[in-house]
């Protein structure tokens, strides 16, 4: 049984209210931070914890904080990225729905550490119920003296606001998010300057994911060193994994980083194996943007070592045989699923969500969608696979923001690992259209009984 730092009290009735959250030790991190620690000491604790950004990129949070410019007389901002839109990822929605005060508490501590006096939680517009939940939680915290003027008599002032998005995946990219928060189209900015120097309204700004900010609470309560003892190597602490697709027990799980992939997938404590007694065919381990892996490469690395749920182990083998932990959006595909159809679906998604600023992404995502559509619908050519790889290579690395890479990787990896399924769609076009599923021979030979 892994340690739970974020979801420890998730099943306590009423934990979404201030009263119950406080009774369970909530807001102790605010008291400790504001009355006994200096802002720099908090940054130091977060650095020591080894916490890496939980939104997908995995950049060390403490280091990001230490880059924040602090010119005299200029406001600084903390913006929480709650624009959770990466297909496969739903942990932030879960956290905000069930334990909103954990995010509020993390925002107060983090804002204090960064010297921000107005902070924003940018929530994707579709999550109106969560926006209402957060607004109520903020009002409760303010009422109890944890927000507003002179918090806990320390002289520190903080106002916290919730900002709705308008429905755009791209606003999960931090500079697009800042544009959107300024009331503009979500077009990512050219970096540098980074938000730490010129972010919201041109002021120094830190943008952090919901889960990263929530993780600051246990880091302050227990100390950075204690937090760093959990996990494996440079993958410290716990991580929320959103498990979906063809699983027996889909849902949000908090794991200690370093848990074996096999245990996570098959043990009843977590996903409980594949639904309906089927076999595992493929896994997308970190949200739709990361490379898809066939079952065997997901469970074991190319060197036949057990694959672990950590930043390092999941990327073992590079993109040739590995993938990424990303946002922890875990999607399992059973033996009946068609990789070509899914790849087309993801390509359509990225085409739909491209902001249109950079031509390689704007045009390339559309080309990939069209070519994949014709493959899936029985009009493909044998040369299409090379064409897709070629287009994906011309998008990757040639755009202002990582959406281009995110669109290119799933296509390139699907062809890398499932090429004969794509070819089968060309050679057996009519069967591919009527049968509507792919080849099963990639599926993991393990049945659930033989596994853990």
């Amino acid at each position: 049984m892994g340690r739970k730092l974020l979801l420890e009290h998730i099943n306590v009735p009423g934990i979404n209210t201030f009263e119950v959250y406080r009774k369970k030790g909530g807001y102790a991190a605010v008291e400790k931070a504001l009355t006994t620690l200096s802002p720099d000491a908090i940054v130091e604790e977060v650095k020591k914890s080894g916490l890496r950004g939980r939104g997908g990129a995995g950049f060390p949070t403490g280091m990001k904080w230490s880059f924040l410019a602090k010119p005299e007389g200029v406001a600084r901002y903390l913006v929480c990225n709650a624009d959770e839109s990466e297909p496969g990822t739903f942990k932030d929605r879960y956290l905000m729905t069930h334990i909103p005060h954990l995010l509020i508490e993390g925002m107060i501590v983090s804002s204090f550490a960064l010297g921000a006096h107005a902070s924003y939680i940018y929530v994707r517009g579709e999550m109106m119920p969560q926006i209402r939940i957060l607004e109520r939680a903020i009002a409760e915290a303010k009422n109890a003296g944890f927000l507003g003027k002179n918090i806990l008599g320390t002289g520190y002032d903080l106002e916290l606001y919730v900002q709705p998005g308008g429905g755009a995946y791209i606003c999960g990219e931090e500079t697009a998010l800042l544009e959107s928060l300024e009331g503009k189209r979500g077009n990512p900015r050219i970096k540098p300057p980074f938000p730490a120097i010129a972010g919201l309204y041109g002021c120094p700004t830190v943008v952090n994911n919901v889960e990263s900010i929530a993780a600051v609470v246990p880091i302050i309560n227990d100390g950075g060193e204690e937090y760093a003892k959990i996990g494996l190597g440079r993958s410290t602490g716990t991580k929320l994994i959103s498990a979906g697709g063809n699983l027996k027990n889909p849902g949000v799980y908090e794991i200690e980083l370093g848990l074996s992939c096999e245990e996570f997938l098959y043990s009843d404590e977590y996903c409980g194996g594949i639904a309906n007694g089927k076999r595992l065919k493929a896994v997308v381990a970190g949200g739709s943007s990361v490379p898809i892996l066939p079952a065997n490469l997901f469970l074991k690395t190319i060197n036949n070592e057990p694959r672990l749920m950590s930043y390092e182990s999941l990327s073992d083998g590079g993109f040739a045989t590995g993938t990424m932990l990303g946002s922890g959006g875990f999607i399992a595909f059973d033996e009946d699923q068609c990789i070509v159809r899914n790849t087309w679906n993801f390509a359509r998604f990225y085409h739909h969500e491209s902001c249109g600023q950079c031509s390689p992404c704007r045009e390339g995502t559309g080309w990939m969608e069209k070519v994949l559509h014709r493959l899936e619908n029985g009009h493909g050519k044998m040369s299409d696979m090379d064409l897709l790889v070629d287009v994906s290579k011309k998008i990757e690395g040639n755009t202002i923001c990582p959406l281009g890479d995110a669109a290119a990787w799933p296509v390139a990896s699907a062809i890398r690992h499932f090429r004969d399924e794509f070819e089968w769609h060309v050679t057996n076009a009519s069967e591919a259209v009527t049968r509507n599923y792919g080849l099963a021979h990639y599926a993991d030979p393990l049945t659930k009984a033989e596994a853990v």
Binding site: A75, E84, S85, E86, P87, G88, T89, F90, D92, R93, A118, Y120, R124, G125, E126, M127, M128, P129, E159, Y161, Q163, P164, G165, G166, G167, A168, Y169, S180, L181, E182, G183, K184, R185, G186, Y201, S242, A243, G244, G245, N246, P250, G251, V252, S288, G329, I331, F333, D334, Q337, R341, N342, N345, F346, F349, H352, E353, C355
Partner: protein
């Protein structure tokens, strides 16, 4: 691309609505009132059911920005409707993880049940539907949401969708 003849009747915002706008503008530093644009467009849509061009012009006037600054934003984000919709808009997630567990069948079922194509409004004006991209609820798939409250419905089946549509019809007729 949207084919839009976005006109609509002239609008004047009610004092209650304007008061809500004022509250939102207070969240931002002085002179940064444009930040209120997205939240205000949500309020306008909740009030009128869509965002008409006269409404956008009024928003521009209120925020002291050019109308084009409102148009470019309203057309960029997928949540704002550029033409009238049904009273209830069923938005079904159509992205990969939902499709693994039957979202496409749910959309086919809704199309058949309502008898209108994606984006069209039923004759009684009650319903329209569309597929939308990942709603971040993949563990409870298939899912749909209904604005303006964006109530969420999870683990959909044909039967639960039928039930939902019947309930909404009853609610509308009462």
């Amino acid at each position: 691309m949207l084919k839009v003849e976005n006109t609509g009747a002239p609008v004047s915002f009610s004092p209650e609505l304007l008061k809500q706008f004022d509250e939102i503008v207070k969240r931002y530093p002085k002179g940064k009132q444009k930040s209120a644009l997205l939240p205000i467009l949500h309020l306008v849509q909740a009030e009128y059911g869509w965002v008409s061009s006269p409404a956008m012009d009024k928003v521009a006037e209120y925020l002291l920005i050019q109308p084009i600054e409102v148009y470019e934003v309203a057309t960029f984000y997928t949540m704002y409707f550029m033409r009238p919709q049904g009273k209830y808009i069923l938005e079904v997630c159509r992205t990969g993880p939902c499709c693994l567990v039957g979202a496409e069948k749910i959309m086919d079922h809704i199309e058949q049940k309502l008898g209108v194509k994606e984006g069209d409004v039923t004759a009684d004006g009650l319903f329209s539907w569309r597929g939308v991209e990942c709603l971040a609820a993949c563990g409870f798939a298939p899912v749909l949401q209904i604005g303006p409250e964006y109530t969420f419905y999870e683990n959909l089946t044909s039967e639960s969708v039928d039930q939902l549509i019947n309930d909404l019809k009853k609610k509308a007729n009462n």
